[in-house]
């Protein structure tokens, strides 16, 4: 098939061929012609103009009414041509915005990056996937000189850029807390003051902070209104909700957070998550928390990192590969 030119003679020949043969080939070439025209930003009124001229060439005796009617059609197409041009320019703007956001997103990645530490006798799995480009979830590992492991997991109510900005603030506030004050309740209390002072009251941040001490094999934790995690008791082969009370960050300046603790036995797991995990949706139905545990249980034989990845894959597929909320899941397992 010949390559198509956008010129009049070509169009005229195609039109002639079609009028004579009513042939599908000519129609296919008309389709090619139309695609090529769009690529070259030819507006519909120009195509109609080419059509009028081709008609005049082919039928010099064209009735006057037909010619006027074609001019009428041309006039009627002008606004469509404009709308098409506007669409093109809006699409370019959209691309520019997208690339700007992706620059911001990769900057956020750099700012909030956290290294999964090696802790003796402890297996760690962590995954955090944003629903959009910017992540409104946050998790961070802190390893002190005395080998204690701190884990922060937080969620800004809301998604996208404002949430991401608020998260960067949390991260830097945490960095400035002195090492000797790394108790979960202390951390939440100082972050609460930062949030209360700096964040708009309409924005809520929930956070769970846990500290594992390999010395006494205990897990210390506090929660600021965060989605409750789960504890897997290996001896009884049972999951239970990690109960921790506390209001979300930033409500009042002097909020106190209660600190809890529990002994971690070999094979036990601590599961921390955000509501993007527990509020996965299948169609219009929210999943039950048990479904998360079922999936964890089914993959429990895997190493911790593989385990969290499998859980994510399961719910990603369940939601037709379209996350509605940021998804963060951390699992600690004490080695047997």
């Amino acid at each position: 098939m010949n390559t198509l030119n956008l010129d009049l003679s070509n169009y005229r020949d195609l039109l002639k061929q079609y009028i004579r043969t009513q042939d599908e080939t000519a129609l296919y070439q008309a389709e090619q012609f139309s695609k090529l025209s769009m690529q070259q930003n030819i507006s519909p009124e120009e195509i109609i103009n080419v059509h009028i001229q081709a008609l005049q060439d082919l039928y010099p005796e064209l009735p006057e009414g037909i010619e006027s009617s074609m001019n009428f059609l041309l006039e009627a197409m002008i606004s469509y041509g404009l709308a098409y041009q506007e669409f093109q320019s809006l699409r370019e703007q959209q691309l520019a915005l997208k690339s700007e956001i992706s620059v911001a997103a990769s900057m956020q990645q750099t700012l909030l990056t956290t290294v999964k530490p090696e802790v003796e006798g402890l297996e760690i799995g962590a995954i955090s996937i944003p629903a959009n480009q910017m992540n409104g979830d946050y998790h961070h590992f802190v390893q002190n000189d005395d080998n204690k492991l701190g884990i922060a997991i937080a969620d800004v109510i809301g998604k996208g850029i404002p949430a991401a900005l608020a998260m960067s603030m949390i991260k830097y506030s945490m960095d400035s807390i002195p090492e000797n004050r790394m108790d979960p309740s202390n951390i939440l209390e100082s972050l609460n003051r930062v949030v209360e002072r700096n964040v708009d009251p309409s924005m809520f941040i929930t956070m769970f902070y846990g500290l594992y001490d390999p010395g006494d094999e205990k897990f210390y934790y506090s929660s600021a209104g965060h989605e409750p995690g789960f504890y897997y008791n290996a001896a009884e082969d049972k999951f239970e909700e990690i109960e921790a009370r506390g209001v979300v960050l930033g409500v009042t300046r002097d909020t106190k957070y209660r600190q809890y603790e529990r002994k971690v036995n070999p094979g036990d797991m601590i599961i921390m998550l955000t509501d993007g995990v527990t509020e996965c949706r299948q169609g219009d139905r929210f999943i039950e928390p048990e479904e998360v545990l079922d999936v964890i249980k089914a993959n429990m034989h895997l190493p911790a990192q593989k385990l969290v990845e499998q859980v994510y894959k399961h719910f990603e597929r369940l939601q037709d590969f379209h996350l509605r909320d940021d998804f963060t899941l951390i699992i600690l397992r004490k080695e047997v």
Partner: protein, 133 residues
Amino acid sequence: MDFQSCVNINKEWDIVGARQIGRDFARKIGFGTVDQARIATAISELARNIYLYAGTGKICFETIEEIDRKGLVILAMDDGPGIAEISKVMEDGYSTSGGLGAGLPGVKRLMDEFDIISEQEKGTKIKAVKWVR
């Protein structure tokens, strides 16, 4: 500038009159059918803006001739409230989102040159030029 022809815009019907005179000008200057239709559409947009936002104003036409080219100047003038944020009305999607038409960005696209001066409480003056290709 001494304009050859002006149309007062006071009522919606005057938009048609402005289009007619503009099209006659365009034809005489030598614009083809497509460009005539584009010029008429630009005139519609300018006249409708006057009618909707200023109430009254006028649209004037003039032929310009340079050594190597010929064109049409359209001037739209009103003493209306003026446009507070010109950059806003020149943004794509600003006026079209309400389905009101092509708006001023449309006029800019239909013509080759476009200039706008507007002062609040004093009025707006838009000059648009199209050259014969």
